[in-house]
Symmetry: D2
Subunit: 141 residues, 4 copies
Amino acid sequence: MDTFIDHHVRVRYAETDQMGIVYHSNYLIWMEVGRVEYCRAKGILYRDMESQEGILLVVAEANCRYSSPALFDEEVLIRTRIGDATPRMVRFEYEMRSGGDARLLASGFTKHVFCNRERKATKLPGMYRTAFGILGENGRG
Amino acid sequence: MDTFIDHHVRVRYAETDQMGIVYHSNYLIWMEVGRVEYCRAKGILYRDMESQEGILLVVAEANCRYSSPALFDEEVLIRTRIGDATPRMVRFEYEMRSGGDARLLASGFTKHVFCNRERKATKLPGMYRTAFGILGENGRG
Amino acid sequence: MDTFIDHHVRVRYAETDQMGIVYHSNYLIWMEVGRVEYCRAKGILYRDMESQEGILLVVAEANCRYSSPALFDEEVLIRTRIGDATPRMVRFEYEMRSGGDARLLASGFTKHVFCNRERKATKLPGMYRTAFGILGENGRG
Amino acid sequence: MDTFIDHHVRVRYAETDQMGIVYHSNYLIWMEVGRVEYCRAKGILYRDMESQEGILLVVAEANCRYSSPALFDEEVLIRTRIGDATPRMVRFEYEMRSGGDARLLASGFTKHVFCNRERKATKLPGMYRTAFGILGENGRG
């Protein structure tokens, strides 16, 4: 099992709603932040993969289970790992925890298809496969 | 099976990202719009249920599968129905389609727990149960 | 003076914050909606101007004065007009009012520079000038 | 003149639009982040001022001039200072610069009225005045 890469964000006022807690769609944005930082930790700049190699990670599915509300100004620990990857797709898994008391805020996953600049499905170039944990042609090691 | 309640929104520039398509977390916001309009069509003002009765629909899970990208200025048809409801929780199901060619953009669900103003789990007051399709004490008719 | 083009939006839950009112940056998004609808009313599809003619309205300045808070589920009237336009730039002015009691929520302006696809300043093609109220080469009629 | 308090954020993919740059309303959210960090640097937790003392900084006006576009994954330096403050209101000023080449991205201000929990104008309690640079009863030092 892949190990989590950790990153912290602080809850913005803009992310709260009138219930006094973080609006639920913002967790998907935190997952995106976690994903980009996962790539950075593995030596990949997501922005370069997109702008230089023309590889887009188009989102095919997103899921989030909410356990405990996140509050304004709270530090949030975003933990990201790869659950599955092939040359065609990658599935990231996430845990979001309070930076204070470590309580679980939410967990979830996103599934992505590797696409080219025209947003057509493509294969991940070999140079990126190790970082994504893809060993062979047909799947994850 | 519950029938869909339909509502249209138009894609805002702010909702696009540098991939040239709608950023994926915005579909969860469209689901919220669909949910509020579903309630309105059933004779419930969500804002009154919250402010007057103190009933909150706290999101416990959200899921979205993305089929085809939505584009700036496109009309989007949001179709919302209740998939399951008990006095304790409700599960909404959604389809989002292009208002133009009716192609499927995304589908998904959200699961909510009825809570009081302190965000503690509670039972949905009887006055709202018919609108949510809850017939008996323990579940959906 | 140009006359206002009117358009309505309904406040989304996602647009509120923990103060129980609409978070202030969302008014700039409503201005964008008003701007796009202003163009549509004048016979211009903003999306075509951008994708077909390669004309971008890059924001140079935005200003908003907040008079009264907008609340969840409230209908908001967005009133948009052009305050000034030359072949190089355009300044839109906005009023946002409650759709219910017509109280002023906010007013403001945005100033835009016409740019090409490389985001370099350019002149607005002649075919669009009438719609923007630009009569001569050097400014507004 | 008050000195700037500096804070860094990294541009999120969600903050970009189809022009390939940060959507302009997000700068107002960065200003909010700068404001909260300004308060923290001065020994004030904005969240406590709001939840414990019931003091809200309701936004009365926001202004932003955009100089150079911010790009995905770029580090942004947010510089925040107080331009003016009285027991009734405070005006924050901001500069946003690229963390890389220090080019100016945008500058602006927000003006806030101190309000109580009912969002009625009130006076800032004495305990906070020094942090906001308010020396006398009627204005800034």
